[in-house]
Structures are given as C-alpha cells and as structure tokens.
Symmetry: C2
Subunit: 340 residues, 2 copies
DNA sequence: CTGAAAGCGCTTACAG
DNA sequence: CTGAAAGCGCTTACAG
C-alpha cells in the first residue's frame, strides 16, 4: 500500500513535511506543497485511518446507537439515521451504526475501544441504561429522545408535551368537546417510550383545563388488530367527535375503519395524527398531522455532537432542545358535526 | 487510558505474553492466563481498535453502502440494514453505514483509508458505477441487488424474474386472462432499478407464453398521485380481473381506490403484490404478496462477505444467489368473477 | 512456555 | 521553512 513515506519520497521531502503539507498545520513553501500534491495524486495516496486514529486519538467516526425492538415499527428510524449520517458526512465524519440489542454493551465496546469520537443515541428510554456510562465516557454523547435525567448530555426531541396540548387545543378551538386519543402499544411505553405518555399526559391535562373530555387508549401496532381496536374505541364513545392518533398503524388503518362505519373525516369526525410526512406521502395516511421531524433531529444532534467533539474545552452547558410541533394540514379537521 | 502495557505490568508479564494470553495465539500457562485475565478485569482493559487495525491490517468493520435517493421510499431499506448489522455483530463485526449520494466517492474513501475489511453494497444499479472499483479493491464486496455484470463479486437478491412469472402463473391458474401490472415509477428504473423491469419483463413474457393479456404501467410512489394512477389504469381496462403490484404506495392506496369504485378483492379483482411483510403488518397492505426477504438477504450477504474476509485465499468462485419468491397468502386472490 | 524488539502508518513536538 | 525522531497501542516473528 502507498504510505506517506512513499509520497514523501516521490516529492523529495521528509515524511513530516509531507504530512504538514497535507494537513496545513504549518507553513509550507508553495513549491513543496505542489510537489506533495502531485505525488499524492500520482500515487493515489489516502491516509490510513487506523494509523491516523492511533496518532491523533481521533477517529472522525460517530457512533450511532439505535435500538430496534422486534415489535416496534423500525422503518421510521431510518429517517433519523439518514439525518445523522448525511449531516455527519457533511461535517467530515463517518457513522458506525450499532443496532445490537444490548445497547449498553454496544456503547461500552465502541467507546472503550476508541472506535468513535462521540455518540448519538437513538430511541432513548425514560430511564436509559446507557446514560450512566455515557456521562462518564471519554467521548461526548447526544440523545435523540428525552430521558428523565438529562445531566451531562445534550438532548434533542420533538416536544411531545406541546404536541399533546396543540392537538387538544386545535380541536377544542373548533368546538370539539369529546376526544379519543389512540397511543402506541402499552409495551412501547413500558420499555421506556416516555414520549408516548408525555404526549398523552399533556393532552389529558390540557383537556382538563379546558373542561373537555378525552378518552385515552393504547392501540396495537399491527394489522388487523389495530383496526379492531379502532372500532372498539369508536363504539365505546359514539359521541366523540375528535380522534388523536399517536400510532402509525392506526393512521394507516383508519381510512378503512371509517369507511366500514360509513363515516368520513372531517365530516363525521376530526382526525389529527403524529407521524412522519414521508410515511404520509408513501402510504395512505391522509390526516392532518404533526411531523416527527426525524431528519431535523438527526441533523441537529450531529451538529451539536461535532461541536462538542471539536471544542471539548468549551464551557458550554448541556442543552435540551425540544422542537415545537408543526401541524401539516391535510384537511381532516373541522368543526364537529351539528346533530339535530 | 489503560493499555496492554498496564495489563502486562499488573500481571507481571511482558506485553507480548499479555497479548498472546488474550488472543490465545500461542500456548500460555494457566497461571499466567489467569493473572492476565484478572488484570484485564481490574483495570477494565479494552484493546484500542485503531492500534489493532494498524498492527493487523484488520478492522473488524464492514462498510455498508446505501444509496437513498430523495424520491425513493427509503424506509424499506432499514430492513436490509438491520439484517446486515445484526448478522455482522453476531460474527464479530461492526458496521459503518455510508449514505452519501456519491457512492463511488464513499467506497473509495472507506476502502483506500482501510476503514473496513469488506463491503456490502445496497441498492445496486444495473450498471453500478461502484463496481469497477470494487472489483479491484483490496477488500471483498458483496451486493444486495443484481447488476448486469456480476464478475468478481458475490450477489444476493430476490429472484425478480421468478417473481414476475409466479405472479402471472398464480393468477393464470385461477383462470384470469387479463392482468394489470403496476410497477414503481419510471425514474426508479432509469436510475438503475433493474429489478423493476426484470419483474415486468418476465411477467410479460410469461403472459405471452400462456396467451393471456397483461397491461404494464409505471405508477407514482406518493399519495395522492398513485391513487389517481390506479383509477386511470382500472378505467382503461375494465375487463382486467387481476392486479399485480410492484409498488408499495400502490398497495397502500388500493384499498381506498377499490372502495371508491365499489369493488373489493378478490370478489371483483384479484390482487397480488410484492412488498415486505413488515410493511404489510404495520400499514394496511392487505394483499397476498411476495415478501422482499430484506433481512434474509442482508444476513446472507454478510455471511458470504465474512467468509471471504476470513478465507481470502479460498479459491471459491463468486456466487449469484437469487432467493425464490415466497407467496404470503392474505386472501386477495381467487377465480375471476363470472359475468352473466 | 515466555520476553525483547521490530513494525504497522501516521502526527507532532523538538531542533535547526 | 524543513528534517530526524519519538510515540500512539497494538501484534507477531525472532530468540531463548
């Protein structure tokens, strides 16, 4: 393989000069710089990443730690991942994607073996077992997802509390007084998906403040179970006029369910969801919804992480950034129907 | 940081002995082995990956190169990715995920800088610009996706030709004589998505052999355009009784479209698709379909790649493995309706 | 069965 | 403005 020694020899300079000419870390005469540049070109030199990492203690690699639980809907994670990898590349970093089930083992392995300069954690649980280690790790870490204890880490997430409030406010302002909220399955919450109850709690709270009724349910995450669930919820509350969905499968199943009930949105019921615009576009999720902002979260997380990596000493305090919910109108909400 | 020197010192042996005790590459007395083990435990030693890579020319990292084009449906890719990363981890490898648009640049960068021991290429195009480099690269590579020229690489893919044939055969055997095939958008094909026309061509060929009619179309990949497309196709061929879908968005839109036409499957029309079971489960894709076999392809690709990495000298010839289509019955096909 | 030493390919003080 | 040398933390022939 061609090394910096070969480049130096071809350029007729020392290895250190060749190295400096490439890094620009000290002033090099234009002639030498040009000779080195030519040698690099001719020989097709690319620095050996392992050797560089060893010498500099920098890998220019980011560790991206996801957890993809069997019955969760994993594909939604790809948008976070792409947000991370693309922005990382723009900033000069590659991304090591780790999906193994034992996230703690993965984090310690990558961190202790110095395979990455920093970490992005996906799918952060309320009481995430990776956090204690991350706080003492030599590399900085940012989270996508809000845990209970945010000390020592940077956090980016959709503002799920505001999302719950906005959903209720929006329908309340239109005159609705009885709503149903369908969340993701209970086991998602139990495994630490705090965002689910964060949205639900704030929706309930806001409803209480406004003096309106809200029925909250967990729904299945697969067909056809979620369809049955929806029928059951609608049967149980025939006077409800608004439906809030924090569950992709529910949004996908609802058109058929409404059809079977000879209902349509927003004529008979107003529907507002929380899912990614991309899924809405590919699949038939025709409802007004709050976007997950996945790639924006990925982007922002990486920017913050790289800033920390490259300015370790900066005394900046850790930040928690919650992206405010943005409603994408698809015409599925209106004033409640007037019953004679 | 704790190095193997620290371990050696704590165990009262030389660095080489410590190293051999850990690697097991030469016989070590039980006592020494135990002392080293203890020192590792006490000090919390993890080998530095960069140093090891430099010494051994092995990274224990696999490069996973995807292309995620803006208007393609990216989430489907996650299942391939997870198949790769999970199997890689089982075999002791981590995965560097590279999503940058310029796949050639990505491949040369990772390869030349020795950041990976081998490559898995996703989304391989008919005439993929990464292949010439891959053939001469120092690291072996396997493809998920069948290109025109398969020399020098291992290839894994769903057998799209057999898929097209099976779709036609299945409906033909039930008595259908006029079919419509809705493929992915034309630009997917133009960008190299050879699988699209591979399926379409073999379906057409098979239909010709059987003496039945098939109308083939490209469909949009987003809502609501694909819904309009479907209506148009159905309007154009009112006597068609079978619908073949090689387009996720079409499968998602079809329930509503059929409903609007007061049709149902399989009563009025038989429907058979080609998409992932996972999507079917989460979204409402209620049709009998051939699974994409994404994670199996990812798994198999990694197994082959690791075999090549670890037995470089093995004179095994390169293989092209096409997974035969497996139909998942969801009750959407039957004999064509009998018209009075 | 074990140790001292060389070497992997870089970067970066140190010296001029 | 440039070079010779040390060092990053491993592994592995070489020697005993």
């Amino acid at each position: 393989m061609v090394t910096i020694g070969d480049v130096a020899q071809a350029a007729g300079v020392s290895r250190s000069t060749a190295s400096y000419a490439l890094s620009g870390k000290r002033t090099i005469s234009p002639e030498v710089r040009e000779k080195v540049r030519q040698a690099v070109e001719e020989l097709g030199y690319t620095p050996n990443a392992g050797a560089r990492a060893l010498a500099t203690s920098q890998t220019r690699v980011l560790g991206l730690l996801g957890r993809f639980l069997p019955d969760e809907f994993a594909p939604a994670m790809l948008q976070y991942i792409l947000g991370v990898t693309n922005r990382a590349r723009d900033l000069g970093y590659d991304t090591l994607l780790v999906s193994e089930e034992d996230g703690y083992a993965a984090l310690t392995r990558i961190s202790d073996s110095r395979m990455a300069d920093g970490f992005v954690l996906l799918n952060v649980a309320e009481d995430d077992d990776r956090l204690p280690f991350l706080r003492t790790a030599r590399q900085p870490g940012v989270l996508i997802g809000l845990p209970h204890d945010t000390t020592g880490v940077d956090v980016f997430d959709l503002d799920f509390e505001a999302t719950g409030r906005v959903m209720v406010d929006t329908l309340s302002e239109l005159g609705h007084t009885e709503l149903i909220l369908v969340s993701q399955p209970e086991h998602v919450v139990q495994r630490g998906g705090a965002y689910v109850w964060r949205l639900a709690d704030s929706a309930r709270e806001r409803a209480a403040e406004l003096g309106i009724t809200i029925h909250t349910y967990f729904g299945s995450s697969t067909q056809p179970a979620i369809g049955d669930d929806l029928h059951r919820f609608l049967d149980a509350h025939p006077s409800a006029t608004g439906l809030l969905l924090n569950n992709e499968a529910a949004a996908a199943a609802l058109p058929t369910v409404l059809h079977q009930r000879e209902m349509s949105a927003p004529r008979d019921i107003s529907v507002i969801g929380r899912y990614s615009d991309d899924f809405a576009r590919t699949f038939s999720l025709p409802y007004t919804a709050i976007d997950s902002a996945a790639d924006e979260l990925g982007r922002r997380a990486v920017e913050q992480l790289v800033a920390r990596i490259e300015h370790r000493d900066a005394p900046s305090t850790h930040r928690v950034e919650l992206i405010p919910p943005a409603i994408q109108d698809r015409g599925s909400i209106a004033a409640p129907p007037v019953h004679p």
